[in-house]
């Protein structure tokens, strides 16, 4: 059985269910408790779990991220909400230097079961400092896992997996998707990491993405279908682990690949996928991999500039036409 709920409520259900089954799980962050969540993701949680488990923090990302990491060392499993991943940059030292490295640097003595989650990406005229797509910046670091759901069902299933995971998980949500409604199962479920999903089967060109741009890819595939180009759209769902097998299997069938990644192109998940595909199935490619990224500039404010900056269906269509020699 399924019902239709918002992406934000899918996240909320995931946290509530996991907090009911495991007392070691707690939520902390800015405005998560009394304000009921800056984006209402934690709506009702203070009422159910009380102030000892739903904790409002001051605006101190470095302090409360590090504090949560310390708490994992004595056995807790915190969820840390960043109102925006853009604000996580001031917490770079704890989230990059402590969480993903603790197990290694302690020689296997201390893992770090923690979830950092919040809004990632541009799209609301917030200007460059508030529009970070941190996939490229953070996925570079070994020791962390990164999940980036595009649909409510994945948002819930992946977040439950993230909370149960023994390794640190960076969970990238999208403010632009929070009100997006879709079917979510009624019953208990989790979605494993490292399993991409073919969102739309096709035969002429593989289009891979993750997070919000998956929706642009599906939109583009619809347009291209009318032109007689059949796209296979793959939703990666997690960036670490990356399900390269599903991507390669598709490319072996279609012989063309477009990668859509909302982070900047230089040293990004998009460039990593292109590189891995070249390694795994170079001979199956009938053209070089084409990548669609955010423009290589700071995120602009003006609507026209911001729309041109971001990956969108129009740019994806152009990329598919180009790579399949239909331009």
């Amino acid at each position: 059985m399924t019902r239709v709920i918002e992406y934000r409520d899918a996240l909320n259900e995931a946290m509530c269910e996991e907090m009911r089954r495991d007392q070691r799980v707690m939520l902390l962050g800015e405005e998560v408790a009394e304000y009921d969540g800056a984006y209402k993701v934690s709506r009702g949680m203070l009422k159910e779990f009380g102030e000892k488990r739903i904790i409002d923090t001051p605006i101190s990302e470095s302090g409360f991220s590090g504090m949560a990491i310390g708490a994992t060392m004595v056995g807790l499993r915190p969820i840390v909400e960043f109102m925006s991943w853009s604000f996580s940059l001031v917490a770079a030292d704890p989230i990059l230097n402590n969480a993903p490295k603790m197990l290694y640097m302690s020689g296997g003595q201390f893992g770090c079961p923690i979830v950092f989650r919040g809004n990632d990406g541009a799209g609301g005229q917030l200007g460059s400092t508030h529009s970070w797509c941190v996939e490229g910046l953070y996925s570079n670091v070994p020791g962390m896992k990164m999940a980036i759901p595009a649909f409510p069902e994945d948002a819930k299933g992946l977040l439950k997996t993230a909370i149960r995971d023994d390794d640190p998980v960076f969970f990238l949500e999208s403010e632009r998707l929070l009100s997006f409604k879709d079917e979510v199962p009624e019953e208990e479920y989790t979605i494993p990491f490292g399993q991409a999903l073919v969102r739309r089967p096709g035969s002429d060109c593989t289009v891979v993405s993750f997070g919000r741009p998956v929706h642009f890819c599906l939109e583009a595939a619809e347009t291209l279908a009318k032109e007689g180009i059949s796209c296979e759209v793959i939703d990666g769902r997690t960036i670490r682990p990356l399900d390269i097998d599903t991507i390669v299997r598709s490319v072996k069938k279609t012989n063309y690949l477009v990668v859509v990644d909302q982070s900047w192109s230089f040293g990004s998940p998009g460039s990593e996928i292109a590189s891995q595909v070249h390694q795994h199935c170079f001979d199956d490619l009938d053209n070089a991999v084409v990548r669609v990224h955010s423009a290589d500039v700071p995120t602009p404010y003006a609507v026209e500039l911001e729309q041109a900056y971001l990956p969108n269906a129009h740019r994806i269509c152009e990329a598919v036409r180009s790579v399949t020699y239909n331009a």
């Binding site: 001051p58 470095s62 409360f64 590090g66 994992t72 704890p94 402590n98 640097m105 020689g107 296997g108």
Partner: protein, 378 residues
């Protein structure tokens, strides 16, 4: 909470009420004081040999020795219970030994050997010992201070939320005076103050952040406890060159932090006799200053006290020193005999708990699985 500007020895405890006006340390069993002396001498000897091993290129990377500050780690550790968490910065060998780590695991870690406490993956600045509740060894200045708040948050949460009881534990979070100017510390202190976390931020104030004297880098350098006041914290200034004094001051702070619970801040006045790290020529401080502190040696101070009380004598001190030299020599031999980590086995191990891709899971260091050694300590 009653406020008292009581002083014990040269300690000044602001808002902290000592148990009695007399020295608690001096009334402890002789055996305890002798154990402290032994541990301080062990740390000193360990660090002397560490410097030699570094010069012989058996130890790589950055290496910071604890010589001169021994009374701090030993006295503070003695003031808490074994399950109380301890976290520190990169000058961490003394804390590891004081907490009960066998010197051989500490030395092997610096030698980059599989027998090291972190299987040779952490090095000098990253000593971890789960069984002894030592949570690192952290290399970035101030980074351990939010972790310290988190350890206190964690123990308090476990006691209050999961076990539905009262907070039991006190976390000791050591930092250098250089960390006073890191944002992380101030965020951690604010959080600790707001959330009433049972953590004690112990500033091992040796007067220099690397080569910059505290007056050149820190406001209110003569009164850094003023910073604690801004975060609603209890504070104390303690002479860290006298272990009896360290224990007395810390005991009062620990008792109050444990029973309240609340955070506290300690300006622990100490001095490092050697440089910041092994490559430091110490041109930033006058030799006269160094010499004046060397006459204030914490080991000599406790030794002389024990002599004066007829609890110990020169012959027994010599015998103890000799035995310790042997123990440290043995730790070096053990470290040398321990093989380097096997590349195939260890390079991709301990990255993730879960096995996936090239990552082959995790395993514990020999230190945690060596039952005999642990049994003795237990």
């Amino acid at each position: 909470m009653s406020v008292a500007n009581t002083s014990i020895g040269t300690s000044h405890l602001t808002g902290i009420v000592p148990a009695t006006g007399d020295s608690v340390a001096r009334s402890l069993p002789d055996k305890t004081l002798l154990e402290w002396l032994r541990m301080m001498v062990l740390i000193r000897e360990f660090e002397v040999r560490t410097m030699q091993a570094y010069q012989d290129r058996k130890i790589g990377g950055f290496c910071h020795v604890y010589i001169g500050q021994e009374a701090v780690a030993v006295g503070c550790t003695a003031s808490v219970e074994h399950p109380d968490p301890i976290v520190t910065a990169y000058r961490d060998h003394g804390h590891a030994l004081a907490r009960g780590m066998d010197p051989k695991y500490c030395m092997a870690e610096m030698f980059g050997r599989i027998g090291g406490c972190a299987k040779g993956k952490g090095g000098s600045m990253h000593m971890f010992d789960r069984d002894n509740n030592l949570f690192g060894g952290h290399g970035i200045v101030g980074a351990q201070t939010p972790l310290g708040a988190g350890l206190a948050f964690g123990t308090k949460y476990i006691d209050e939320v999961i076990n539905e009881g009262t907070s039991q534990r006190v976390t000791l979070c050591f930092l250098g005076d250089g960390a006073l100017n890191q944002g992380a510390l101030h965020e951690a202190m604010n959080l600790a103050g707001l959330m009433k976390l049972p953590v004690i931020f112990i500033v091992e104030n040796n007067g220099y952040s690397m080569g910059t004297s505290i007056n050149r880098g820190t406001t209110m350098a003569d009164e850094i406890t003023a910073k604690a006041k801004a975060y609603g914290m209890l504070s104390a200034q303690i002479d860290g060159m006298d272990i009896l004094n360290v224990y007395d001051g810390m005991k009062a702070v620990v008792d109050q932090v444990r029973s309240t619970p609340c955070p506290a801040f300690v300006d622990m006045r100490t001095y490092r006799f050697k440089g910041h790290s092994m490559s430091d020529p110490r041109k930033y401080r006058p030799r006269e200053e160094e010499q004046s502190y060397e006459t204030d040696d914490p080991i000599a101070k406790l030794r002389d006290y024990l002599f004066s009380q007829k609890l110990f004598d020169e012959d027994r001190f010599k015998a103890m020193s000799k035995e310790i030299r042997g123990e440290v020599r043995a730790s070096i031999k053990w470290a040398e005999a321990s093989p380097p980590p096997d590349v195939m086995e260890e390079l991709y191990k301990d990255v993730y708990v879960e096995e996936w891709g090239p990552y082959n899971g995790t395993s514990e260091p020999e230190m945690l699985t060596d039952g005999d050694q642990r049994k003795e300590e237990g």
